[in-house]
Subunit: 536 residues, 2 copies
């Protein structure tokens, strides 16, 4: 609930009041530098907001909507970009190349409609923003051709659970609600969405839907796609793209599946019905160690192909275990957890452990009653982005990228993609390491998540990041993986997304956008090239 009255850091993760002092950062940096073997123990400080120079606004908010808009330096800076490593470094150094000219803060859906109407009539690009945590260049306020400027549409005031249907276990929720406030409102009904992306604290339901976000469930409902029952979005020209609550409806292509992953290009998502759950009553969890990463891969594959549906089933390689203090670097580690609101999970857990045994796994069961199982894991998971701000301050390059591929190709794929990223890292940084974990698993394949850490050249980080990003993405494409499993496309992934997307589907998608957004005002340049205004 903590967002009320608190200001986000304009450049990094979390809130201003959470920013550690220089002394605290220096203390953390000392320990981290010793652990990593690189990075300066003497951290730089972020350029303060007062010293940031933003490009002057191209347009002014309209008088009749003045009460909805803000255009001060803080508001423009905080909405200027997402929170990728490159974004954070830029912001840290005071660079905000694409701030919106103004920020609209609608209080309700009719405000959204009024802003869209003004943007379309004045040809102003409109970037819908939830939590603003994109790590793929998905919310930079860059106008399309023929646009006069660009505004951000900050949806965070639409933050309420509007309706709960306890019989059907579904809730109608406004799109701008942040994760913690969403869960707090559901808790009052004894329910939970149980969707925990790493950005949970700072991202919104609408953002999750727009980007097909991935939650912490490693199998089963991994993406927000799997829990959406109906979506409501406003389009600039076509009115409300609002589906109805029709479980399992097979009437034509799914209207929701076209909005899922549309990244703000087709409509502004204002609310959704999502499926909710009672809190789990049965839990078991274990940490399993494997001598080789490949052994762990085999166990995870067999577990998902046996349809055991673990809630958590994340495998980290030995080096990542060492870096994160999860292990001593000699073994790959699997975090395995089952949970259920109704039936005991023993049959499934016991079978999963027997599968691990077949692959030489050795395990230690966690105390199922305490938060020591899933809860502690999740807390650490959600804290990780905060650490990155410190790494930036101490001159450490820190990047993550993720992909997915079928099981038949997974092992060599991980080696080659990891190898390509490692080579690029060494080339541009001279040292550092790339580690890998499996975050989500399916009967036919799995998602691999890579973490890159290396010594950056201060001031040159974005160029170094680009070298690694390109090498990793080229390798993913060459080896047949997807350019993103759950981070979305934005602008950063466009070159590789364009390769993997079927060409006729690209034509279809652009045409669909032109039909509902003829001025091309919604998030131009994300997912596909700007659709030029259709009217003269």
């Amino acid at each position: 609930m903590g967002a009320v009255g608190r200001r986000r850091k304009h450049w990094g993760w979390g809130f201003e009041d959470e920013q550690p002092s220089h002394r605290e950062v220096a203390s953390a940096a000392q320990g981290l530098a010793a652990h990593l073997g690189f990075g300066s123990p003497e951290p730089e400080m972020a350029v303060p907001l007062e010293a940031v120079e933003l490009p002057p606004p191209r347009i002014a908010p309209p008088a009749h909507l003045a009460d909805l808009f803000a255009a001060g330096p803080y508001d423009r800076a905080v909405h200027a970009q997402g929170r990728s490593y490159a974004d954070v470094v830029r912001g840290f150094r005071g660079a905000f190349p694409n701030p919106p000219d103004a920020i609209a803060r609608p209080r309700d859906e009719s405000d959204v409609a009024r802003v869209l109407e003004w943007c379309a009539s004045e040809r102003v690009a409109c970037v819908p923003v939830g939590g603003g945590t994109s790590v793929v260049g998905g919310i930079d306020a860059i106008p399309g051709p023929g646009h006069e400027g660009a505004v951000a549409l900050d949806l965070k005031a639409l933050d309420r659970v509007l309706e709960v249907d306890t019989v059907s276990r579904a809730a109608r929720i406004q799109a701008g609600v942040l994760g913690p406030r969403l869960e707090a409102q559901l808790l009052a009904h004894g329910l939970t969405l149980r969707f925990f992306p790493q950005s949970f604290e700072l991202s919104t339901l609408g953002g999750w839907i727009a980007t097909r976000a991935g939650g912490h469930f490693a199998t089963g409902p991994t993406h927000i796609d799997d829990v959406v029952e109906a979506v409501r979005a406003l389009t600039p020209d076509g009115g409300a793209w609002a589906s109805r609550r029709l479980p399992g409806s097979g009437a034509g292509p799914s209207p929701d599946r076209m909005l899922l992953g549309s990244e703000g290009t087709l409509g502004v998502i204002t609310e959704a019905w999502v499926r909710v759950l009672p809190r789990p009553r049965h839990r078991r969890a274990a940490g399993v160690s494997f001598r080789r990463f490949a052994d762990g891969l085999g166990a995870v594959r067999d577990i998902v192909q046996a349809a055991l549906l673990p809630a958590n089933c994340r495998l980290i390689d030995a080096r990542e275990a060492a870096v994160t203090f999860a292990g001593d670097g000699s073994h790959a580690l699997l975090t395995l957890a089952f949970e259920s609101g109704d039936v005991p999970v023993d049959e499934r857990m016991d079978r999963a452990l027997r599968i691990c045994e077949e692959y030489g796994g050795e395990w230690e069961e966690k105390d199922a009653a305490s938060r020591g199982s899933m809860g502690a894991w999740r807390d650490a998971f959600l804290r990780a982005p905060y650490l990155r701000d410190t790494l930036v301050a101490m001159g450490v390059l820190s990047e993550t990228f993720e992909t997915a591929i079928t099981w038949d190709k997974l092992e060599p794929f991980v080696e080659r993609v990891g190898g390509a990223a490692q080579a690029a890292l060494e080339e541009t940084c001279g040292a550092g390491q790339v580690t890998c974990r499996l975050t989500h698993a399916y009967p036919d394949g799995a998602a691999a998540y890579f973490t890159v850490v290396g010594p950056a050249r201060r001031g040159d980080e974005v160029a170094q990041w680009a070298v690694i990003k390109r090498a990793a993405s080229d390798a993913i494409a060459a080896e047949g993986g997807t350019i993103t499993h759950h981070h979305a496309v934005g602008r950063d992934h466009r070159p590789w997304y364009d390769q993997q997307r079927p060409a006729p589907f690209a034509l279809a998608l652009r045409a669909a956008k032109a039909a509902v957004d003829p001025e091309g005002i919604l998030n131009p340049g994300v997912l596909f090239d700007p659709v030029y205004p259709s009217k003269p």
Copy 2:
């Protein structure tokens, strides 16, 4: 495998060599009439093909593709319409209002491309046909505006499993393969798709994908959507709409989800990667009787909300139990079955039975080792369409329609929709009955399937059918259900589909079609109004 060399009945279900003699039909009719209390024990005979008068072809197949085309009366009649009750009655009486002018039988994908090229250049509508079992007017060969004629594109020669990836448990399969031949080819690898729609024997993988068909699994992967890994389709103007095998990919809106349910309007599906399974090793099944249908509804809801994932969980009302000889009409009956390829199903089955007990259910467990559980149920399920031909011959109107809605509304919904259909049936037929079963269940709702049986006025059946169809569909729409859970939209469901589909999504879909099919040749009039040729 039995399709090779056998001819389908040109008007009804199954093959010509399965058509019973007049004597056999009469014998069946006698028993059925006594059981139902209506219908003539003296069956009519279908108008033989020789007596059928088809409208003359509007166009001739092109000389350079002559070897791909057939245009004889049998071929034109058998592809003239689907197999709804209205279609079968029409065909029985020798009426085939919309036969294709010719039938193309491509041997491979390059043949498909050549046919599409010719159709686009000559402005000939092209109706992709798999098994031809549409029950919603989805394959009638009706040209769009400005079209010279219409051909059917019969894909059944594309019938091979091309590749099996046993590691990832997926197979690449040509779209024209019929269910039995698909399973026979997978069986050689010890695998199965386990997707059994009621049309299984006569319908194809491509047809299932194009119509979002529903299989026999009552929970979990209910639709073909849930087992598709990648799809390949040819478009008239944009080349191959071919997605890659990218498990869980979150890159943009799913290209597959736009083809799923596209009903032949966006592209011709030529092959797909689908997820396959080993055959189940663990099985348990039971029949559970409930005093009231509502008690069974409660049990089914609790079972799916407990995430027990039964393979079968079908509830029929007491009257349907009596009509189908499944019971004596005093109780609603639930067919409950669990299966697994790996782990025992006892924990889940025991919990499900305890839930049934809470709702007053009394059960009899089936012999799990024999086909007496799931297999026998499935055999009866697959035979049902054959019976309809006999009902038509004896003047009995027999129709099914299906929908889905959330749990909070389900009980009154079933009463009102069933009541509206019953009233229409009595109005137009003077007698008869509407029964209901629950076919598929989700945590947030379920699919209700209605069966209508009544005494028809011979020769007037299609008009009577239309009265009932309209009343049932109006009631579904008024009460907030979907116009189809797994029968697709076609032309028959258009008026109600148009109401439930979000208006901007309709705009987007039409624009998408125009982008990949600018002449609007693919199945014009299905899903949306014909897209007029974009070029003069």
